[in-house]
């Protein structure tokens, strides 16, 4: 097999007196110390290892950061190997997570392609690329739990559709990362703000809302799976699931100057990527609208819009081509 991914490192910036290159044009490299031949230049990733998996390049980058910290005399944490995420729990394998058929990459016919060295794979159309990307299980991007802030109220245990949070009789708890599907219901419901989300944290989302509304206008908060937006002209903040939309986010959007906030929601569990996501979203929007009525603002400043049938959800996608 010849690996020919058509990519290589561009080291043209390395000049005489800089790190030494070997006869193949790669950096001379000490993998134990992530070091090049220049004492103050460190390297990581595919520039030294050659083509490989992205996750190995990321790990290599982390090792290099530790090596640089040591070189600078800065205390650096050792990087323990993280606990591997075990086998998906049985209850999740059997019905909790929707199966997601893959889309087959369109390719040139083998009879045709043996004749030349042109690219074999033709690439996905945008819709198929989005569908394929939506099969991502968002591992590790879900709940980030703080035992320090937790008040042991059990809310997360009661509301999680996947049984990911747990608590023992002493109130000690946690969220099983293998079971967490990153829908965000526990974050939205946690009364003590002991749960945030690894990807698209509350702070990030609030900052994005304010940034996108810097000039006023309308805002759509939606999930990032549907192909079409409900308010194409509005600024958009897209989240893995609108179950992550909190009342605070909606009120802060209006504080930031939104003339109107649309929340694009699935019609039911079958339609949605996550279990119960649509119901949590409906509850948050209803609560925010009630708050507007309380302050004699038009509740329609926040509007829930059911998105049309989505074609690229796990389990609902177009068949493999």
């Amino acid at each position: 097999m010849i690996i020919a991914i058509g990519q290589m490192s561009d080291l043209s910036f390395v000049d005489d007196g800089g790190p030494r290159l070997d006869e193949r044009g790669l950096l001379v490299f000490d993998a134990d110390r992530q070091a090049t031949t220049s004492p103050d230049v460190f390297a990581s990733g595919e520039v030294v290892t050659g083509p490989g998996a992205a996750v190995n390049a990321i790990a290599s980058g982390k090792r290099a950061a530790v090596a640089i910290a040591r070189y600078l005399g800065v205390a650096a944490a050792e990087l323990p190997d993280p606990d591997p995420i075990g086998e998906l729990p049985k209850r999740l394998r059997e019905g909790y997570v929707k199966p997601a058929p893959r889309r087959r990459m369109p390719a040139r016919d083998s009879k045709e392609r043996i004749e030349d060295f042109q690219e074999v794979e033709l690439g996905f159309a945008e819709v198929d690329a989005r569908c394929e990307a939506s099969r991502c299980l968002l591992c590790g991007s879900g709940a980030r739990y703080s035992q320090l802030k937790c008040v042991s109220c059990l809310t997360c245990v009661r509301v999680c559709p996947y049984g990911a949070p747990w608590a023992d009789k002493d109130g000690l708890g946690g969220i099983d990362p293998a079971a967490c599907q990153a829908c965000g219901i526990c974050y939205t419901q946690c009364p003590a703000k002991a749960i945030d989300l690894e990807v698209r944290s509350e702070e990030q989302v609030l900052a994005e809302i304010e940034e996108k509304l810097a000039g006023g206008g309308e805002l759509e908060i939606g999930c990032w799976y549907p192909q079409s937006r409900v308010a194409p002209d509005a600024a958009a903040v897209l989240l893995p699931c609108t179950a992550r939309v909190s009342v605070l986010m909606l009120l802060r959007a209006l504080e930031a100057g939104a003339e109107k906030v649309y929340v694009a929601v699935c019609s039911d569990d079958d339609d949605g990527h996550f279990k119960h996501g649509h119901r949590q979203t409906q509850a948050a929007v209803a609560e925010a609208r009630a708050a507007l009525e309380d302050i004699e603002m038009d509740p329609d400043a926040i509007e829930l819009v059911v998105v049309g049938e989505k074609k690229c959800l796990q389990g609902k996608g177009a068949p493999e081509k």
Partner: protein, 222 residues
């Protein structure tokens, strides 16, 4: 746990409209657990007040801080920097919180954001029921572990009354007749004969009827 419910916003705005520098203080114990006054709810309420004030052209600032328990001197001492310069504190704790804050911060007006409803337990997510009225003289050992003082509309000691029908109370079909449940439970335990013993008059002076109560525990004091 103490269960409290937010006051209607028309009250909140009456309290807050005349002031300019407002601190909403959340409490991360009972009212967080009953999902009405913890850090999340305090932040939401502050955002709502800010929107209202902007709409009414009232200006001013509305910030939030949350402590673990407003009923502890040490925790509310911790927020003295946040309280500094405020002209109003709005507490989302049970009624103990505003009082504790008023005792500590004597020059700042303190108002309640909540109505304290009961001592209760969660029946299902978002639903709490009253289980105790802090009467000061627990009778659960005589009543199968179910409290007729808190859970009988008439606080009967020898029930049920004639208003018990099909296990429900005459005040509402939603309300369980606790005396029916007490009977059922004692029967299950083979203790129905206990029901033949008349429970005599209680000493109500141990409840709130005897005036404000203080409890001292014996032991070492620093």
């Amino acid at each position: 746990m103490i269960v409290a419910k937010p006051k209607p916003f028309r009250k909140i705005k009456q309290f807050t409209d005349p002031y300019q520098n407002i601190l909403v203080v959340g409490c991360n114990t009972c009212v967080a657990v009953c999902l009405t006054g913890g850090e999340k709810e305090a932040e939401q309420l502050a955002a709502k007040i800010r929107l209202h004030r902007r709409r009414e052209g009232l200006g001013g600032t509305v910030d939030t801080v949350t402590v673990l328990r407003q009923c502890e001197h040490e925790y509310i001492e911790e927020i003295k920097d946040e309280v500094e310069g405020r002209d109003l504190i709005l507490s989302t704790a049970c009624s103990i919180g505003p009082q504790a804050l008023a005792e500590r911060y004597q020059d700042v007006r303190v108002v309640p954001g909540m109505n304290t409803k009961m001592l209760g337990m969660v029946k299902e997510h978002h639903t709490w029921s009253e289980y105790c009225v802090a009467c000061g003289d627990c009778v659960l050992h005589k009543t199968g572990g179910l409290c007729p003082i808190a859970r009988c509309a008439k606080e009967l000691l020898n029930g049920p009354c004639g208003g018990s029908q099909g296990g429900r109370c005459e005040i509402s079909p939603e309300v369980e007749c606790i005396w029916q449940s007490i009977h059922d439970r004692l029967k299950r335990l083979g203790m129905e004969n206990d029901l033949k013993k008349i429970l005599g008059p209680r000493n109500w002076s141990w409840s709130k009827h005897g005036g404000p109560r203080t409890f001292h525990k014996e032991g070492f004091k620093p």
